[in-house]
């Protein structure tokens, strides 16, 4: 980099500044106003027990997700089988589908099967594992596919058993990806509210974020704000673990092979069938509910007699998600550039992960009180933007890391400025990933429950829970179905773009 080259410094600057404003401003405001209650909250034994329980429950869910996810990652990375592309689509979709949708379908399933007396932690755990196992498959599998088998083959030829090879050779090589996906899963499990609201009837026994939400709703806002420090610290530790190992260079992709033994074929088939069943079950359950006469009437309720709340929720969700996605994509391109080309710390770009829905929701709510002239919709957009910047960065970063810096370098020696080179070479190659990040953020934002719940926003997921709490389960079912369909459309576009982006990289 030339000493007079300012492009690298100036291009990501605006994104870095906005990232800190969006994340730190609400959090700091929140902690300052909750400072009085810090001592009382953290000396409260039940609160500390709740915190401990939340960590343990999240860890159990993560452990289960990793155990179930590793074989899936292996299957997706190493085996070739019919409809592999479709199954990859299914698994990634399950990773990103709103937890509220999975939770609601599980709730209906429990009702239908008559298991209503079951401990609510079991279905909550199942939903969280269902949502996070595909995450492990995705991140570990995407690394595994590039890992050549030479070391494993060599160890086998030296007389080591396959199991030992797996634990002593393969697992250490996958360590960074396992740590990454497990930490991300932990953050998701620990910060989740939707599953607890839908399946646990708002129980906060093992979920700090729901506990904070309940404190907030009950008017004990100072305590909620003070307690929000705890999830920040805990998830920040998880974030540090996520990036403990830097992302290593990947070698050439090994070709996937057809599973050889009968047992591996059987195992692959069973695993994929379970994945398919999990994917299909919400559709079936919602379809059964919607096709019943009572739900048909709730359609007219939602879109007609309920003073157009349903359509307003849809409209709000759409505005929030599209605008947040646009801003996220704009910022994430610059942040990814800063990480990939300037060595900007990855953990800082992923900082919003540690704030989560609770902190951002409460923080922007406080800003709304202080600055009442700001439209609540704007606050919701900003909160969702801050919340999903890391997702957009994650999508774009892998693409930008795959594009050699040599392209820009050569273009510069051919007489073009750094800015021109980036816009005409790197940006063109990044375009599919750019749109992919837009669609992924749009659909995640469309299905986001946490921040609008704190902001009292009128969006599809908040309505879903509100309808459920008011006893209109058919209406909730309809909202969940809408959420599911919108997610599928958005994700399908994003997935197509992902393939194009990957081939460019």
């Amino acid at each position: 980099m030339s000493t007079k080259d300012n492009f690298r410094r100036t291009y990501p600057a605006i994104a870095i500044v906005l990232l800190f404003i969006l994340c730190l401003a609400p959090a700091i405001m929140e902690w300052i106003s909750g400072a009085d209650s810090v001592l009382s909250v953290f000396s409260d034994i039940p609160t500390l027990i709740n915190l401990g329980n939340s960590v343990v429950f999240a860890l159990i869910c993560v452990l289960a997700s990793v155990i179930l996810g590793l074989p899936g990652a292996y299957i997706m990375a190493k085996f070739r089988f019919p409809l592999k592309g479709f199954f990859r689509w299914v698994l990634t979709f399950l990773m990103l589908v709103p937890v509220s949708v999975l939770a609601l379908s599980t709730r209906f399933l429990i009702q239908k099967t008559g298991l209503v007396s079951i401990n609510p932690l079991i279905p909550i755990g199942i939903v969280l594992v269902m949502s996070n196992t595909p995450l492990v498959i995705y991140f570990v599998g995407s690394r595994w596919v590039f890992l050549d088998d030479n070391c494993e083959s060599c160890a086998r030829s030296l007389g080591t058993k396959p199991t030992k090879v797996f634990f002593s050779i393969t697992t250490p090589r996958m360590r960074s990806e396992i740590a990454f996906s497990a930490s991300l899963a932990f953050i998701r499990c620990f910060s989740d509210i939707a599953a607890f609201k839908i399946l646990g009837n708002g129980s906060d026994a093992v979920n700090t974020c729901t506990f904070i939400y309940n404190l907030w709703q009950s008017g004990n806002r100072n305590a909620a704000q003070a307690l929000s420090l705890a999830p920040f610290v805990i998830t920040y530790i998880a974030l540090l673990v996520m990036f403990l190992d830097s992302w290593k260079d990947i070698s050439r992709e090994k070709r996937a092979v057809v599973a050889k033994s009968f047992m591996s074929k059987l195992f692959t088939a069973i695993y994929l069938l379970i994945a398919l069943a999990i994917f299909i079950s919400p559709f079936v359950i919602f379809a059964i509910n919607i096709l019943s006469g009572s739900t048909m009437s709730s359609i007219s309720n939602l879109f007609g007699s309920m003073k157009a709340d349903g359509t307003r929720g849809l409209l709000y969700s759409a505005i929030i998600s599209v605008t947040a996605a646009l801003i996220c994509t704009f910022l994430s391109k610059r942040l990814s550039f800063a990480i990939a080309r300037n060595g900007f710390p990855t953990t800082l770009a992923f900082l919003p992960l540690t704030f989560g829905a609770a902190i951002l929701g409460m923080g922007f709510s406080l800003i709304g009180k202080l600055l009442p002239f700001i439209n609540p919709l704007v606050l919701a957009i900003l909160a969702n933007t801050a919340r999903f910047i890391p997702v957009a960065v994650l999508v774009l970063l892998s693409a930008i890391l795959g594009i050699p810096e040599a392209f820009s370098n050569v273009s510069r020696t051919l007489g073009f400025s750094a800015r021109y080179s980036f816009r005409n070479i790197d940006s063109v190659l990044l375009r599919p990933s750019f749109f992919e990040s837009f669609f992924v953020v749009a659909f995640l934002s469309f299905g986001e429950f946490g921040t609008p719940a704190f902001l009292k926003g009128n969006t599809v997921p908040t309505q879903l829970v509100a309808l459920l709490e008011s006893g209109d389960s058919n209406g909730a079912c309809l909202m969940a179905a809408i959420l599911l369909l919108v997610s599928i459309v958005f994700y399908s576009v994003a997935y197509g773009l992902h393939k194009k982006g990957t081939s460019n990289a």
Partner: protein, 355 residues
């Protein structure tokens, strides 16, 4: 006085393990090769000249103009990287036309210029091909044409032949040399292949740990290496201690003491190339009395490698290991070879003191 195309004045650059510190100049229109072991700073020099990295100290001049503080796009140097870095979102034609965007040419002029470059690198018929459809050789040609399209003052080639097979390397190095001669562009060619570097260059720089070990014509580098490092790095050679003189010198007694005591010091080491040795292929018939001076008679063969056009024989004689080329495979397990005094280089403490 020759006009300099490129001058590097006391350029210094410090990396974690490498401290680059060197000065050199290249005449306008000359092709200079840089060779050296991995990590010696060959590619770094190109990055510094092109401005992709900044120097800590010193200055770089191109055609007499100080470009040290200019950005890469202002230096009028183009670089061809080892993997060619062809833009995957453009086909061959568009890759080559890319540098001409700044020239504000009309459509027809642009097409004509692209066609001329494509013909210059023998890529006619490949205009519309995507990068994925090209072989490494075609990619290199595209990268060369793209680099030439920018009409650079200095062309930097960073191991351009490393992805090609042996036959392609031979063809392309001749093509590169021909293009360079025709265009007259000052060129810096970094290579990991010594033979390639010597064959293509007007001048060669041997680099060692970020410093210039030797700079000179290819013949000087090979025939008169200034150090044992250059000698061993540029090709096979025999390095033997002073004792070998006492044991193998076959000259009349009157000349013997003169050669031994006037020419060599006991701490010196002798160096000679295997191809300069003369092999006695007909055992029983002695060497002529006057030739060669040092004789390794009936040296025991310890290894015989077939290289295609000849054999490389490694043999031991009285505790000394020698390497010698021979056209015919040795018939027995011994070989007799010798070397003339004029072919022997004398080194003291790794540095050449007599040739």
């Amino acid at each position: 006085m020759p006009e300099f195309g490129l001058v590097c004045n006391d350029i210094r650059k410090k990396y974690h393990k490498l401290a680059l510190d060197l000065s050199f100049s290249v005449n306008k229109g000359e092709l200079i090769s840089i060779i050296g072991p991995s990590g010696s700073g060959k590619s770094t020099i190109l990055r510094l000249i092109s401005g992709l990295d900044t120097i800590d100290d010193g200055s770089i001049l191109i055609d007499g103009k100080d470009i040290t503080n200019l950005r890469p796009e202002q230096r009028n140097t183009t670089i061809v990287l080892p993997d060619y870095a062809l833009f995957p979102n453009m086909n061959v034609e568009k890759n080559i036309a890319y540098p001409m965007r700044t020239l504000h040419l009309s459509r027809e002029e642009l097409k004509a210029e692209v066609r001329r470059l494509i013909e210059q690198v023998n890529l006619t018929g490949y205009e519309k091909r995507t990068i994925d459809e090209l072989t490494p050789m075609e990619r290199l040609k595209t990268a060369l044409a793209r680099a030439l399209a920018a009409k650079p003052s200095v062309l930097l080639l960073d191991e351009p032949l490393s992805l090609l097979d042996a036959e392609e390397r031979l063809v392309l190095r001749n093509e590169i040399k021909e293009i360079q001669r025709n265009t007259g562009i000052t060129t810096v060619f970094v290579s990991n292949n010594q033979e390639e570097a010597l064959s293509i260059a007007d001048k060669v720089i041997v680099l060692r740990n970020g410093r210039i070990e030797q700079m000179g014509s290819p013949e000087d580098i090979y025939r008169r290496p200034c150090s044992e490092f250059t000698a061993t790095f540029t090709g096979e050679c025999n390095i033997l201690p002073y004792d070998v003189i006492l044991k193998t010198l076959r000259v009349p007694e009157t000349e013997r003491s003169k050669i031994i005591y006037q020419c060599f010091g006991p701490e010196h080491r002798l160096l000679f190339r295997p191809e300069d040795m003369v092999v006695n292929d007909m055992p029983g018939l002695p060497f002529p009395e006057f030739f060669p001076h040092l004789r390794f008679e009936n040296a025991k063969i310890i290894r015989c490698e077939y290289l295609g056009k000849e054999y490389l024989v490694t043999a031991q004689y009285d505790g000394f290991t020698i390497k010698v080329y021979t056209v015919y495979k040795p018939a027995s397990d011994t070989i007799t070879a010798g070397i003339r005094m004029t072919k022997i280089l004398e080194f003291n403490d790794g540095k050449l003191i007599r040739h």
